[in-house]
């Protein structure tokens, strides 16, 4: 299974490298797009210095974590993002008759490396924010940061799966998921707590974006010292359970379009 995945990986890279100019234009466009977001944060801090007690460097850590998680999802779970298309053109029907898991095939057949642009931008921001944040990078802090990124990618993938599951029922009006996926990334440029109590609760208990971003950040910048905060990103992984259940329900409901 892993070997097959690597094979798909190689095929995806090869096919996208056939159009080199298009690939690099796409990549560069994505870098610029996320750069504009970062520049916006930077300009705000030139004027305000702090927001809710967070400094620019602390906020940039948040920005970079969220961007990196999101871009991992965008590259590797891209199949769910374009899922309505897979249903529409009958590609999904072919997955159903193959002797491999459906989720596995959706993930393996669609990777879009142009979307690594956001990842590259996140790396650049990390290069600036990690040394300048004043954090002593002991092993526990490094582990926390690592968990933030990985679990973040898991939560965003869960959102993508929900989006794809919805498209079993309807293809219209799915734009509202944007506020959670794309919006989650854009608003994750600041710690989710600055949006107020209500939003923070929503992002903790319903869509657990804050669990991988805000709470572990408190540990990183030593506002909280309990090691439990290292593990909050892991809690967010439970979000994948309802996502998976919803996907299963959608799959049972699925009728081919017949094309």
């Amino acid at each position: 299974m892993v070997r097959l995945y690597l094979k798909y990986f190689a095929i995806n890279i090869k096919s996208q490298m056939q159009y080199k100019t298009a690939f690099f234009l796409h990549l560069f466009g994505r870098i610029m797009l996320s750069f504009a977001t970062v520049a916006g944060v930077w300009f705000m801090f030139l004027r305000f210095n702090r927001v809710e007690g967070f400094t620019l460097n602390q906020v940039l850590l948040c920005t970079a974590v969220t961007m990196m998680s999101y871009s991992i999802t965008e590259v590797f779970a891209r199949g769910f993002d374009i899922f309505p298309r897979l249903l529409g053109n009958g590609e999904f029907d072919r997955y159903l008759v193959r002797p491999r898991g459906v989720i596995y095939q959706v993930i393996a057949t669609h990777m879009e490396f142009g979307r690594l642009g956001v990842f590259i931008q996140a790396v650049i921001v990390f290069c600036y924010a990690i040394p300048n944040s004043g954090i002593v990078w002991s092993p526990d802090k490094i582990l926390t940061l690592f968990l933030m990124i990985i679990c973040g990618a898991a939560v965003f993938s869960g959102l993508y799966i929900i989006f794809a599951s919805f498209s079993f029922f309807t293809v219209e009006g799915l734009e509202f998921m944007n506020i959670l996926t794309h919006g989650g990334k854009e608003f994750g440029r600041y710690p989710y707590a600055i949006y107020g109590e209500g939003i923070l609760k929503f992002l903790t208990f319903i869509i657990p974006l804050a669990l991988f971003q805000y709470y572990p950040l408190l540990y990183l910048i030593e506002r909280e010292s309990s090691p439990l905060y290292i593990l909050t990103p892991l809690l967010s992984m439970f979000f994948l359970v309802p996502c998976y259940v919803f996907w299963k329900i959608g799959l049972r409901h699925y009728k081919s379009t017949g094309s």
Binding site: H26, M32, A36, I179, Y195
Partner: protein
């Protein structure tokens, strides 16, 4: 215009999509305001606009998004260049520039009409710190209307420059860098008053300052009187410049256009 009517009725077909779009934009505006509110709480003295002006800025931005965003809505135009259907377009007895210009405007207006009213109505009735205020006076509203129409023309002329670049790269990402630059410097990410000082002055005079920056700030009264009139004059100037450049580039590119297949 017939072209206009066709595009318009096509846009009206997708009502569920429009409802989803409206709620998304509404949630988006709400989150933006919450973010600015956090900065306001941290240091009200450093806030460069009145808070109510900012709230209006964001709601008007969301409501008029389809008219003012520099992002091309003409995916179809790019497709015709890449797949070669442009040769049909060239066979028609009509200037391609004008055709693109009015098609893009029609697309934008039809999207706008579907979406603006619900957003504006909700924005006018939500509770206090989030409520949009009305423009301070009738002449101010008139200037806002003029500025938003000009913005529509300026961004459309800008989009066509983006389409023309596709002739050379055959990729729909070719102009992305310019579009993002425009979006950022027109105040799409943060309003221009939040820019650092010397930069803000330069940007306000640039073509980007003649985009959404101007109408959104005129609406709330952040820019008023002579400043607004000067801004509108600047919009007319940049519109003329961009249309002239666009027509010239178009003429030049069409001479060397290679139709892709059939």
């Amino acid at each position: 215009m017939a072209l206009f009517r066709i595009r318009f009725s096509a846009g009206l077909q997708y009502r569920a999509a429009a409802i989803a779009g409206i709620s998304t934009q509404f949630a988006w505006g709400f989150m933006e305001i919450l973010a600015f509110m956090a900065f306001y709480r941290s240091n009200p003295a450093a806030f460069p606009m009145e808070f109510s002006h900012l709230v209006s800025y964001i709601w008007v931005q969301q409501a008029f998004l389809a008219l003012i965003m520099p992002w091309g809505v003409g995916g179809k135009v790019v497709e015709t260049i890449v797949n070669g259907n442009i040769s049909y377009e060239l066979a028609r007895p009509m200037s391609l520039y004008n055709r693109w210009f009015f098609e893009t405007i029609a697309d934008r207006v039809s999207r706008f009409i579907l979406r603006c009213a619900p957003i504006l109505i909700v924005a006018l009735v939500v509770p206090e710190p989030f409520r949009m205020t009305l423009p301070p006076s009738l002449p101010q509203l008139g200037m806002f209307a003029a500025a938003i129409l000009l913005t529509l023309c300026v961004v459309t002329a800008f989009c066509i420059l983006d389409y023309i670049s596709v002739f050379y790269t055959m990729s729909r990402f070719s102009g992305t860098i310019f579009v993002i630059t425009a979006d950022f410097f027109a105040g799409g990410y943060i309003p221009l008053p939040f820019f650092p000082e010397p930069l803000r002055k330069v940007v306000e005079l640039s073509p980007f300052g003649a985009m959404q920056n101007l109408p959104l700030r005129i609406y709330s009264g952040d820019i008023a009187g002579m400043h607004a009139v000067r801004g509108i004059a600047l919009q007319i100037f940049w519109l003329a410049v961009m249309v002239i450049i666009g027509k010239m580039l178009m003429k030049y590119s069409l001479k060397r256009v290679v139709a892709q297949g059939g």
